[in-house]
């Protein structure tokens, strides 16, 4: 019977039947799609209806209105007369800054602690274990508040700032030596310290104040020299790799590049007569004016996020290293590689395949946790936009949608970069 149906061209056409799995599934999919469209549409229509019933403003026009509030950390110029759109950008950059630096710090610290947990030295091992257990078992909000309140409480007021510079160091050394009867050594040191002038870096409970370099005329040449040094370093690295692959000879790429990057701009600066002067912070009235300053809210959030996430990264690194079989290190040792190169050239590259995917999740977590900064007054995207701006304008739907879109975009970009990196370090099977 089935043979007859197959050979009959008229019956070969599809017929409307629930027993046909292909037809059935496409019908279900179409119905589901329609239901989804209807849901989205009814959400939208309902929201519009309710908003106009309550007389609440809607639309994105508010982005051009005057914001009116101040922001304590701005990477781009901003003042109260600028728009909500500008405030959004300021908040976004603040989020990106703390997330980017946090990821770097957490990675470095996490790798160090992860390797330390595998150390044969009992003290190092115990310290690393204690670090991991403390940081990953306390809520991140608590850690942020701890860093903020504990650190703030310990710091002096602006008028009693700790000046950091060589002067106090030499001064203290000089007076110390004089005090123990070595005046012939101490006196010239104290005089030298006085010559150095006042310190230029200050720490107080308003943050960290540093001199800001102001580049005068001719600074373009220094920048050009820096770019040139970077290009030449890149070419050297390529040449050295080719030579190593051909002959096996090593070349100190790192040190030569470092030398180039330092020396070339210095020569350029000397040629144009050092057109850089420092805008040194100075105490005036309540606070320090001028210079660069890092606010304590930022420092507390950065420290908390990076130490918290480093605890998780340490465990990921440890598991990655343990996943590489012992035979690998034994083979490397038998070829005469010392412990350092064994770790760097044999173990870590193989461990990376295990480490990178969960590492991506930790980077995403750190970025999202940065929104907790609102608790200590760090002006990130969440605080400025989903907080102050939302409160000011009341346009919850637009603002929450924009904020979600931004966090989603940051996360997707992070995932893409890490995915690309994962492909590069993945085991290439030949």
């Amino acid at each position: 019977m089935s043979d007859a149906r197959l050979s009959d061209p008229a019956l070969g056409r599809r017929r409307w039947s629930w027993t046909d799995p292909k037809l059935r599934s496409s019908v279900i999919q179409i119905v589901l799609g329609l239901v989804l469209v209807w849901l989205v549409w009814s959400f939208y229509a309902n929201a519009q209806g309710n908003l106009s019933r309550l007389g609440i403003a809607s639309g994105f026009g508010f982005l051009e209105d005057r914001a009116g509030f101040a922001i304590s950390q701005t990477l781009i110029p901003y003042n109260e007369n600028m728009s909500y759109g500008r405030a959004f950008l300021v908040g976004l950059l603040n989020t990106l800054l703390v997330a980017f630096l946090g990821v770097i710090l957490a990675t470095i610290l996490g790798f160090l602690v992860g390797v330390a947990r595998l150390s044969k030295n009992v003290v190092i091992k115990a310290l690393a274990s204690a670090y991991v257990e403390v940081t990953r078992n306390l809520p991140p909000l608590f850690q942020i508040l701890f860093w903020y309140l504990a650190v703030l409480a310990a710091l002096p007021t602006p008028r009693q700032s700790w000046g950091v510079g060589l002067q106090p160091l030499f001064g203290a050394l000089g007076s110390g030596l004089s005090a123990i009867g070595l005046g012939f050594l101490g006196a010239p040191l104290s005089a030298f310290a006085a010559d150095l002038g006042a310190p230029a870096v200050f720490i107080n409970n308003r943050g960290l104040m540093m001199p800001k370099p102001i580049f005068g005329e001719g600074s373009g040449l220094i920048l050009a020299a820096l770019v040139l040094a970077l290009v030449v370093s890149f070419l050297i690295a390529r040449w050295a790799r080719k030579r190593r692959e051909a002959t096996g000879a090593q070349f100190p790429v790192f040190w030569s590049s470092l030398g180039l990057i330092i020396v070339l701009p210095l020569i350029a600066a000397a040629l144009v007569g050092f057109p850089v002067h420092m805008d040194v912070p100075h105490l005036r009235g309540f606070n320090f004016q001028g210079g660069l300053s890092v606010i304590p809210e930022f420092v507390a959030l950065l420290l908390a996020l990076s130490t918290y996430t480093a605890g998780f990264i340490a465990e990921i690194v440890r598991s990655g290293i343990l996943a590489v079989s012992k035979g690998q290190s034994e083979a490397a040792h038998s070829l005469g590689l010392r412990t350092g190169p064994t770790l760097r050239l044999v173990i870590i590259p193989q461990a990376m395949r295990v480490i990178v995917p969960p590492l991506t999740s930790q980077y995403l977590n750190l970025t999202k946790n940065s929104s907790l900064g609102v608790a200590v007054g760090y002006p990130d995207l969440f605080a400025i936009f989903a907080g102050t701006t939302l409160n000011q304008t009341g346009q919850a739907i637009e603002i929450i949608a924009m904020t979600m879109a931004v966090y989603l975009a940051i996360s997707i970009v992070t995932s893409l970069i890490m995915g690309w990196y994962n492909k590069r370090v993945a085991l290439v099977e030949r």
Binding site: R53, S72, E80, I295, G377, A386, G387, N391, G394, A396
Partner: protein
Amino acid sequence: MKRILLAAAGLLSLVGVAHASTLDEVKARGALNCGVSQGLPGFSSPNDKNEWTGFDVDFCRAVAAAIFNDPTKVKFTPLSAKDRFTALTSGAIDLLSRNTTWTMSRDTTLGFNFAGVTYYDGQGFLVRKSLGLKGSKELEGASICVQTGTSNELNVGDYFRANNMKYREVIAFATLDETVKAYESGRCDVFTSDKSQLAAVRLKLTNPADHVLLPETISKEPLGPLVRHGDDQWFDLVKWTYFALLDAEELGVTSKNVGEMVNSANPEVKRLLGTDGKYGEGIGLTADWVVRIVKATGNYGEIYDRNVGPSTPLGIERGLNNLWNHGGIQYGMPVR
């Protein structure tokens, strides 16, 4: 997390269906949901028996007494300045009585109705005595702490600009507690807020005598209770509760004498207390609604004196908040 939940609730309520009458909902629920601040002595703070007390709290109790004849039938929701509006929009609370400044944008584009001005206030500055400041014109270069989501956050920028001064930074914190902690730890030179709030916060500091309020008032801060747009009956009820408190004080009706005043021959008192006419029915209640209110919380003057007046730790003179016929600008509309 609570913030995110509140925001989500706000979104859901906006995309959800319309509400029934607020008064019916409150009656069916058996309690009034009232938003107050998270702990501000004199205005809303829990006492040692864990009961909410204060000026703003008593207004919630007055509304509850008008509806239920029971001032305890209130569920208080402590809210930060930032979360308060979302809570009201979403329907999580029926009434916001949380020293909120009446501004045009809040009244219009945010979708709220202000029922009146229960407290006329103005923004000031709290500083350490050791700084030796005489006035707010000397604040050039200061670090300023402020609570985010307040009108204070907006006023401070305008004030400095108008006076050709520059602050060093304005640090905005999410809650009052965090703001005060930061000020106390020395993160800022100045804490700015409404003067009544500064007086209350000063009492909470470790050593209140070390801190002083600068004399200037830099803004108008008319504080009052507010409700959502879209339910005029509920708006009327809250508005007339406020007027009734003022009228009761003006006519000398107090929590002690309200029992005798019911028999008063004064036609104004008779209309207010419902022995003449049925004015209470116009707001969905019974004629004797004001009797219930005054019995429970006392009149406006009693509420003021009990919570923030000169005999309390806050010790704030009536000033602008005195009745219109006693040199102030509090003026209750007539019941007739």
